[in-house]
Subunit: 331 residues, 2 copies
Amino acid sequence: MAFPFEISATDGKARTGVLKTPRGDIRTPAFMPVGTAATVKAMTVDQVKDTGADIILGNTYHLMLRPSAERVRRLGGLHKFMRWDKPILTDSGGFQVMSLSGISKVTEEAVTFASHIDGSKHVLSPERSMEIQADLLGSDIVQVLFGIQQGSTFENLRRESSQRLQDIGFDGYAIGGLAVGEGHTAMCEVLDYAPDMLPADKPRYLMGVGKPIDLVEAVARGVDMFDCVLPTRSGRHGQAWTWDGAINIKNARYADDESPLDPGSACSASRDYSKAYLRHLFKAEEILGQVLLSWHNIAFFQALTSAMREAISEGRFEAFRRDFAARQSPV
Amino acid sequence: MAFPFEISATDGKARTGVLKTPRGDIRTPAFMPVGTAATVKAMTVDQVKDTGADIILGNTYHLMLRPSAERVRRLGGLHKFMRWDKPILTDSGGFQVMSLSGISKVTEEAVTFASHIDGSKHVLSPERSMEIQADLLGSDIVQVLFGIQQGSTFENLRRESSQRLQDIGFDGYAIGGLAVGEGHTAMCEVLDYAPDMLPADKPRYLMGVGKPIDLVEAVARGVDMFDCVLPTRSGRHGQAWTWDGAINIKNARYADDESPLDPGSACSASRDYSKAYLRHLFKAEEILGQVLLSWHNIAFFQALTSAMREAISEGRFEAFRRDFAARQSPV
């Protein structure tokens, strides 16, 4: 199914609009919190909704292993299972098969691998990935698994991926293979031309990105959608992202700091708790610290995409981008 | 300050009423969630409030060591620090000094001990315990630290504790030293006579108790208030308390169980998530599992005290007690 993508304003290469799906509108630029194992880590779905997220991501690889795609289907699909009624995007499973599992056999048709959980053997093929995502999990936006022959030309890759996308009627483009350690500068260099090679009227999704400054620079280059574990993962380790850069809440400088992370935020975690209290929770290794910092970080990423949408709509994205970069201290 | 304690109904030895404090009414029988280190573990204060809790407990020993009583005072007191505006009861610190710390010296005036966190030396005396609780933390209900001479008679103990309580103007009685492994039967035997030795018009608080069936049997014997880490601690380990007894949510029998823990509950954690999902969260070691089961258990303990208050008011506590015991399967 092709979802209507309506671009309401552009500013330079930056765009803002709405991807319309049966389960709800996705306002772009959009940040998608990652709910790997049917949970955005350390958050209730009500807290995730409260941040203004329009869509979350689920991981095909993790869910097919535990609790299994068939079990999720029996329990009513991924939305009902995890109590999230807005859109869900799933990945193909390919990235985690490569990075997490023990691969035992690769053919043109499928990859056989050993679960990182218990070593059990599983098979993933393009057809099985699609069955899991669309039929069993009930995902709203799916991604296509396909292999890359060594020595493939870009033209071949584009033709093959276009064919796969046409096969399932998907109507958007994902940019992957970045955000694997190449750094901000190299990412920006690729994004200086990559989005221009994609049709202007389709959503462009940059997988696995990234830091707030990465999001701003990618939007400046025409990207519409992002997902990343960064806000929840760094939140669980005591890192809070703010308009003035990232801070380590465990730092002694916050021991008597009565100010909240963001007094102007609509999010309780950002607005209602002092840095001194949050620091105490981390020093005492209390779960609530991980909960509140994950919640705050997801709220901040949503506030950031919201601010970008507004800046693009009002034709002042360049000023926003400049001011944002100036306030973000290097991490 | 003596708080008015108004008993509105009795049924046998069981009583229901209200302890009126400046920060709010405490409806009895009352269960007080334990917020050891300025957090009811794995829960936001909004979730704690949502369960209907009128009062929580804080631990003097833990807070004096981290973040320190003086720091809590500088940050506006314990209520502001942890964002809980209803009553807080603190303990004397004595129990944890005995059970957690390394005691290096005991005199009639004070105990010197080493912190279980970093080995640092600290001193706790009756006066210091009171200063921490009342002046620094800003507790609503304090407890008195005093030593027991070996060979003290019950009369001596009662006289000394009464004197201490009069000194600070406190107007209630705590029963401690139970719930340290003596078992349900022995606890009930002590409670068959202990509450009767306390004035009928003062609240009676049974420290550190307990399982749901313990609460019901203690209320039947005239106890009004309880605190216990059980609901949050067992919740973090996958145990859920229900009207039909305790269950281990990790059990394979729940893998495809679409029913929630308590469909009739007002608590989202009890009502909105399937046992299959909760089991999945624990199998995947997701923090949200600990959050939801802690929340559910606290909500269940509040629902239990609420049901007891109603049964006593309506003169049917004996029937409630009998039905409750019959439904609770042995754990």
